[in-house]
Amino acid sequence: MKRLVTGPVPAFVLRRAGATVLLLLALSLLVFALLYLAPGDVARNLLGTRNVTPEALAEIRARHHLDEPFLQQYWRWLTHAVTGDFGTSIRTGRPIGPLMLEKTGITAATAGLAFLLSVLVGVPAGVLTAVRRGRWLDRVLVTASVVGVSAPGFAVGLLLLYVFALGLGWFPIYGTGEGFFDALWHLALPAVALALGLGAFVVKLTRAAVIRELDQDYVTFARGRGLSEAATLRIVLRNAAIPIVTSLGLMVAYLFGGTVLIEVTFALPGLGSLMEESVLFKDIPVVQALTLAVALVVSATAFLVDLSYLIIDPRVRARTVRR
């Protein structure tokens, strides 16, 4: 652990952080270009459904500095975006920063809950199927996970709503709830709907990773010199953690795609719903801001996954040190 504090490891962290910033810059350029890539006149797009008068267009052009060169506009937008100022929403006329902020909570809670559920259930289930490879429990769970992976989240959401909210009445049909436990109760169904597909994915990849490790020589050797099954499994899990953590990082991106549909299905006023409404309304500044936010979260996760390698895998640590 001492090596993590001094020497080449911080240098590696800095290098990776730098790369992440560069990546985000490139992405932001793409995101900003959205405005121009959208069909039609930029000014008209920014005007939205308001009356198109020459005065209004001129006013928009002036406000958004549309007569400036592209890169200058980009720079202006970026420097504002960094401070949280993404401009104003075309649809609501409100500043985008605060608009997003107030909706982040619900999305973060739903996504976080779904992530937690899928990992807490998926990883142990995956390990269990791997250890019981070929037995009935394995077959049942693998079949279930195939269903889970292939069932679309919004369809599962509808089904859950129909059965548990409408039919059995155990959960509320919509709304976000007041206070922690009430909110949890309200978010349970959306989180489960989201977690089902994710969890099934986690089961499959955990199973594959653990099975690959179980077939390694070091497992045979560990058993062959009398280590208990529990001890052997601990060794296996430490080794299987590397591919599992990588895939969990990838899942974060998937999670955002899933939230949009789930929030719409459950009528949750989160970032997903905002995204859906903004896209439908061609509220391009909001779409830009949301896309950038997602890019930020995804690349930050990738950065964290890279750092976690340093902790999990001594070989990566050694390679980093040598470089």
């Binding site: 070929g134 050797f221 010199r225 080794n239 001594p314 050694a318």
Partner: protein, 629 residues
């Protein structure tokens, strides 16, 4: 313990009627085995003989879908067993706690009982030290797993000292250690629970010759000090000869011969043992054609009521094909499963091996007569070096350092090959021999130095390479024919020549339709050679091309290469760690060490009278080198 004969009372382990069954059928068809304290029993056989399945069955580690039947007795042992407690102080924590109870294990029983067997009674050491340790745990931790209670760190340090490693190795990860050190760590881990019997499955096959020697010496010392029994699984008869007290020879899942090492290997009673011993290439002289065993090992379950070896045996009579011969005493303690034990030839003296090689029935694989063997006792191509013919390949001052590596892989290597010549580059891992081969082929770019073909540094190089592992060298998704057609097309030759190419390497043209999976290791390597021959290469680079093969198959492939040299005038650059193989294949040899050529010259003088200290050390490390007359 129901019965107790004198032999059993003395033994550590007595196995009765061990059978291993897979879904396809019997993999091991009935075997008895005893090991006494301090005794070394070698189980020898080629791949598919069932030797690895046997030891997996003895440790309850058979793969899914494979199960064993039979009985294993582990008699009770007294704590104060002579020899066990002396020599080492505080060696075993369990010895002090008392007598180990007798165990009688039904090999068919799953799970449960193995907890008492593995570790304290039997420990299994695997072949590859690179994969038998967990890559993400420190060595000390891994050794300590088998130790419970307090004083674990001291025990780990003591075990490390016992295997000749410094205490700081405990804090290292396996990837930070050399192969030999890793195997020592693995041995320490295996000994952590003080086993009475160590089963070592090809423990040195993945190691360099000099390291092999050290590790075998270490195992022998530990065995002496701990009065431990040892089952040595090996394909290497030299190794069995130099290390074992008794030898058991397995063939197609059957025990076909057993007895004292001297009896079995010097006076084999089973023709298979005799032929197998003859296949081992001698280090001291070159054979025109290496003896081989025609055909290949049958699958154990496909053998009916007959001698499993009858198909390939030169002495088979009708009686061999009507009933499976049972083990019968040929001499005191020497037993063989052969109806005509008196017929087996003595393979060991060099003269008789030569005679064997030149016998007309010394044919190659299934019905492919090694034509060149008999008529042309072909004088090996003696290129007129220094004469008008230009050198095919000249390597001058080649240097290469891999990024992040402290030592150079190649450090000023010079090498010359004349057309038609066979040159071997020998050395251990890390010597740079493979890097040299890859630079010559163009798979690696050297930092400095020149590689010239026929006097020109540029232009088309007709060089092809055959790799070590025929299993990964062929695309498993393509048929043999498609792979070869692809190589032919790249060389601008028509696809119709696939059959011709296959016949050139001694395979039937019909093999074009098969996939690599359906071929044996030797057959795959032949396909790999055929693919390399497709562009009509001037120079064939063989990078350890026979190291992954069984001895009898290795001999077949070496014969094939020698034959191809004669027929096609092929030039060979043969990279190998095996000096005996170099002796058989090469005219001249280069010995590499730490990226430099330390010695070079005609193979006879370099291996016969080595001048460099390193070459001498290499030769001295070969098992039983002293006995190979």
């Amino acid at each position: 313990m129901t019965t107790s004969t004198a032999a059993e009372r003395a033994s550590l382990l007595a196995v009765r009627d061990l059978r291993v069954m897979s879904a396809a059928g019997a993999v091991v068809a009935g075997l008895d085995l005893t090991v006494a304290p301090g005794e070394t029993v070698a189980i020898v056989g080629e791949s598919g003989s069932g030797k690895s399945m046997t030891v997996k069955a003895l440790t309850g580690l058979l793969p899914e879908g494979v199960h064993a039947t039979g009985r294993m007795d582990l008699p009770a042992r007294d704590p104060g067993h002579p020899g066990r407690s002396d020599g080492q102080d505080g060696l075993s924590s369990r010895n002090s706690t008392g007598r180990r109870p007798g165990l009688e294990i039904d090999l068919a029983a799953p799970g449960g009982a193995w907890r008492d067997v593995r570790g304290g009674r039997i420990a299994l050491l695997l072949q590859d030290p690179f994969t038998s340790l967990s890559p993400v745990h420190r060595c000390g931790e891994q050794i300590g797993w088998a130790i419970s209670g307090s004083g674990r760190d001291e025990r780990v340090a003591r075990l490390l000292a016992e295997v000749g490693l410094p205490a700081e190795v405990a804090g290292k990860y396996p990837f930070q250690l050399s192969g030999g050190m890793r195997q020592r760590v693995a041995i320490a881990a295996g000994l952590a629970a003080d086993p009475e019997l160590l089963i070592a499955d090809e423990p040195t096959t993945a190691l360099d010759v000099t390291t092999q020697h050290e590790v075998l010496e270490l195992i022998a010392r530990l065995q002496r000090e701990r009065d431990m029994g040892l089952i040595l699984i090996t394909h290497d008869l030299r190794l069995a000869r130099s290390r074992a007290d008794r030898v058991m020879v397995m063939y197609a899942g059957r025990l076909i011969e057993e007895g004292s090492t001297a009896r079995v290997l010097d006076a084999p009673a089973h023709p298979y043992t005799a032929r197998l011993a003859a296949c081992d290439p001698p280090l001291t002289h070159r054979l025109t054609v290496l003896p081989t065993i025609p055909g290949s090992v049958p699958r154990p379950w496909s053998v009916g009521a007959e001698c499993a070896f009858a198909e390939r045996c030169a002495f088979a009579i009708d009686a061999c094909r009507t009933a499976e011969p049972s083990l019968a005493e040929v001499a005191d303690g020497h037993r063989a499963a052969c109806v005509r034990p008196e017929t087996a030839v003595l393979p060991v003296p060099a003269a008789s091996a030569d005679a064997l090689a030149l016998r007309p029935e010394a044919t190659d694989e299934a019905g492919t007569p090694e034509k060149a063997a008999v008529p042309a006792a072909a004088p090996s191509v003696e290129p007129d070096r220094g004469a008008a013919s230009p050198l095919l390949l000249t390597v001058e001052g080649l240097a290469k350092r891999f990024p992040g590596s402290a030592v150079p892989a190649l450090d000023g290597v010079d090498l010359e090959i004349a057309p038609g010549e066979a040159v071997a580059v020998v050395g251990e891992s890390g010597s740079g021999k493979t890097t040299l081969a890859r630079c010559v082929v163009g798979l690696e770019r050297a930092d400095a130095g020149r590689i010239t073909f026929l006097g020109s540094a540029t232009g088309a190089r007709r060089v092809q390479i055959v790799f070590q592992d025929p299993y990964s060298a062929l695309n498993p998704g393509l048929t043999v024919g498609t792979s070869l057609a692809e190589a032919l097309r790249a060389a601008g030759r028509p696809k119709s020549e696939v059959g011709e190419l296959l016949e050139l390497v001694g395979l039937p043209a019909a093999y074009a339709r098969r996939r690599p999976r359906a071929l044996s290791g030797g057959e795959r390597q032949r396909v790999a050679i055929a693919r390399a021959l497709a562009p009509r290469a001037d120079l064939l680079v063989c990078d350890e091309s026979v190291s992954a093969l069984d001895v009898s198959v290795q001999a077949q492939v070496l014969n094939l290469l020698a034959d191809l040299r004669r027929r096609l005038g092929l030039t060979l650059l043969f990279i190998t760690h095996d000096l005996a193989v170099a002796r058989q294949i090469a005219d001249r040899v280069y010995v590499m060490h730490h990226g430099r050529v330390v010695e070079t010259g005609p193979v006879d003088s370099v291996l016969g009278a080595p001048a460099h200290e390193y070459t001498q050390r290499l030769l001295a490390s070969i098992p039983a080198a002293d006995q190979a007359d």
